[in-house]
């Protein structure tokens, strides 16, 4: 039998097997997670809303499906969705006053796919407001805390999902990643996080931040779980015009094929200036491990990728200023109650509904798109974006996978960077280039620095998810960092 007291650190695969063998029911599994949330989420703050009654009802339905013998890999497994994914009948706030109390009339495609697969939605994950931030301190409601050290941030913007998975408050979660918002918190919390190729996972029902960069992806405790979850959410969606058509591979097939002969490029620019030396050393040790497993290591230079942060902080705010123009206090969301006349109501609604970082980005984007500046900033950034993508394309003619640290530092202290937006932005240094180029990227735990987890970032060409998963799996199985958990 399964020990319900320690069930929360089983992998999705182990839970799925235990459910199939009837060693545990989905209701028991779900209740154990709800108990775990009750016990520790007052400290961790990974959830903005817990849907306990709905979760138990879904678990009952999953148990009926299990009884009837129709097994799917995620059937009956309890999970969390970041609170920028629409869930019919369950509040979806983006951690913003602007959407406080907003109840979507429809499910995001990923929510629908996971529901069809029989997963159990435990609740919605805390995040930086509208996914803008790197620490989850921009949540309008509360910060999340890192389960490894609750005086530190879990990263962001998917800090709630990362903390929930790391602390055993969900078997897995979905995050969204516009400039590193899956991978950086995954690294900070010691879990696996993947940003798939742009267009691989439907964005329908994901509250838009920067539409040419946003991508949904899995956050899990093991690489195999990442492959399982990716398989459930990837695929063409007619409701997302940027969704990639075509058949999908089985992402769990060939996971254990190893890295013998695989060409891995170490990106020189991410091991020096701006990178914590202990983080760089930890990543280098991981690369030596991969070499020991048979990979062929070489050094690669991507000088343009160092411009990606500046490009990102033009393109993302520009797109955000257009996307967030919809919050007008008329159709849904916060509406200033006291203003007379539509223009005053609009200005006061947006003044009180948005937090400081969201306002800064809308303002910066509006500036970059305004008359006289459009060519100097927005078009220029798009041209540099072409150079960055070209540089990646050329690099992938010589190597199969590129590696860097996932983030320049381990998790920093709560409040340490909140007064310095530029220092906060620098936390995205390593992760932003993948979004700019639209390529897939994955963070896998690669050790500890001062007791805090650090991630190794893998990047590959378009639709190379299987290769990234294979490398990450080989590394994970050789090192076993995934079996370390926080003491909480």
């Amino acid at each position: 039998m399964v020990d319900l007291a320690s069930i929360h650190y089983m992998s999705v695969r182990e839970m799925s097997d235990a459910l199939a063998m009837r060693e545990v029911s989905s209701v028991e599994l779900t209740q154990a997670h709800l108990d775990r949330i009750s016990a520790i989420d007052g400290t961790v703050g990974a959830y903005l809303a817990v849907a306990g009654d709905e979760a138990i009802a879904q678990a009952r339905a999953a148990d009926e499906r299990l009884t009837s013998g129709t097994l799917t890999p995620l059937l009956g497994v309890p999970m969390q969705l970041k609170d920028n994914m629409s869930t019919r009948g369950i509040a979806t706030t983006c951690a913003s006053r602007m959407l406080e109390g907003y109840i979507p009339a429809y499910d995001a495609t990923v929510a629908r796919l996971l529901a069809n697969a029989g997963t159990v939605l435990l609740g919605k994950g805390n995040m930086d407001e509208f996914a803008m931030g790197s620490s989850t301190e921009n949540s309008a409601f509360k910060p999340s805390r890192n389960p490894w050290d609750t005086e530190r941030v879990p990263g962001g913007s998917s800090g709630g999902p990362a903390a929930a998975v790391a602390a055993g408050e969900a078997a897995f979660a979905l995050g969204s990643d516009t400039g590193g918002s899956i991978r950086q918190p995954a690294a900070f919390c010691g879990i696996v996080g993947m940003k798939p190729t742009y267009g691989l996972v439907s964005r329908y029902g994901l509250v838009a931040f920067a539409s040419s960069l946003d991508q949904i992806g899995p956050m899990t405790r093991t690489v195999e779980d990442c492959a399982l979850v990716l398989g459930a959410i990837a695929g063409h969606d007619p409701k997302d015009s940027t969704s990639i058509p075509g058949a999908l591979p089985d992402y769990t097939a060939g996971l254990d094929a190893g890295v013998e002969g695989l060409r891995i490029g170490v990106v020189r620019e991410y091991f020096g200036e701006g990178i914590d030396p202990d983080v760089a050393k930890t990543a280098q040790d991981a690369i030596a491990t991969l070499e020991g497993l048979g990979a062929r290591i070489s050094e690669v230079s991507l000088p343009h990728s160092r411009s990606a942060l500046a490009v990102y902080y033009i393109i993302a705010p520009s797109e955000c200023s257009a996307n967030l123009a919809r919050y007008d206090g008329v159709k849904y969301g916060y509406s200033d109650p006291d203003s007379e006349g539509i223009w005053a109501a609009l200005e006061e609604t947006r003044r009180h509904g948005f937090g400081p970082e969201v306002k800064r980005r809308i303002m910066l984007g509006t500036y970059a798109l305004s008359a006289g500046y459009y060519n100097a900033y927005y078009i220029k950034a798009q041209q540099v974006r072409t150079l960055i993508r070209r540089e990646f394309t050329e690099a992938f003619e010589h190597v199969d996978v590129l590696v860097t640290p996932s983030s320049p530092t381990p998790a920093f202290g709560l409040g340490e960077k909140t007064e310095d937006p530029l220092a906060m932005h620098a936390s995205d240094l390593c992760s932003v280039p993948a979004n700019i180029a639209g390529i897939p990227s994955l963070s896998v735990p690669c050790g500890l620095v001062d007791g805090m987890p650090v991630g190794l970032q893998l990047l590959g060409p378009h639709l190379s998810e299987q290769t990234l998963l294979r490398v990450a799996y080989a590394y994970e199985q050789a090192t076993g960092w995934h079996s370390l958990h926080p003491a909480i």
């Binding site: 058509p245 159709k331 849904y332 916060y334 006289g372 100097a376 900033y377 798009q382 072409t386 530029l422």
Partner: protein
């Protein structure tokens, strides 16, 4: 009007931008935003030093997609009740807006 290469944004510049994106700001908020925005613009202005002659702009990363046109087929829409359920102000089956003309 703002000068092309001036990266320090004045209070008036910030007031103009805020009016474009319809965010109400007090004088104190304008002052703070002017300092923060000047820092941010200084950070991103770095791109202007990069040679991009004969390089086209990249607007999106959806390479493999030729067309975004869906089939011209109708499907059931959300119900009026669902669409209006989150409306801050409602009158019958309509969104109620505040006065547009004085």
């Amino acid at each position: 009007m703002m000068a092309e290469n001036d990266r320090n944004l004045s209070i008036d510049d910030v007031r103009h931008i805020a009016s474009l994106c319809r965010i109400g700001m007090t004088d104190e908020e304008l002052e703070r935003m002017s300092a923060e925005l000047s820092d941010l613009v200084g950070e991103v202005a770095y791109v202007q030093s990069i040679d991009t002659s004969r390089v086209g702009p990249m607007g999106h990363a959806a390479d493999s997609i030729d067309t975004v046109m869906r089939d011209d087929e109708s499907s059931p829409p959300l119900s009026v009740g669902d669409v209006l359920a989150n409306a801050p102000r409602r009158e019958g089956d309509y969104f109620r807006v505040r006065a547009i003309l004085d």
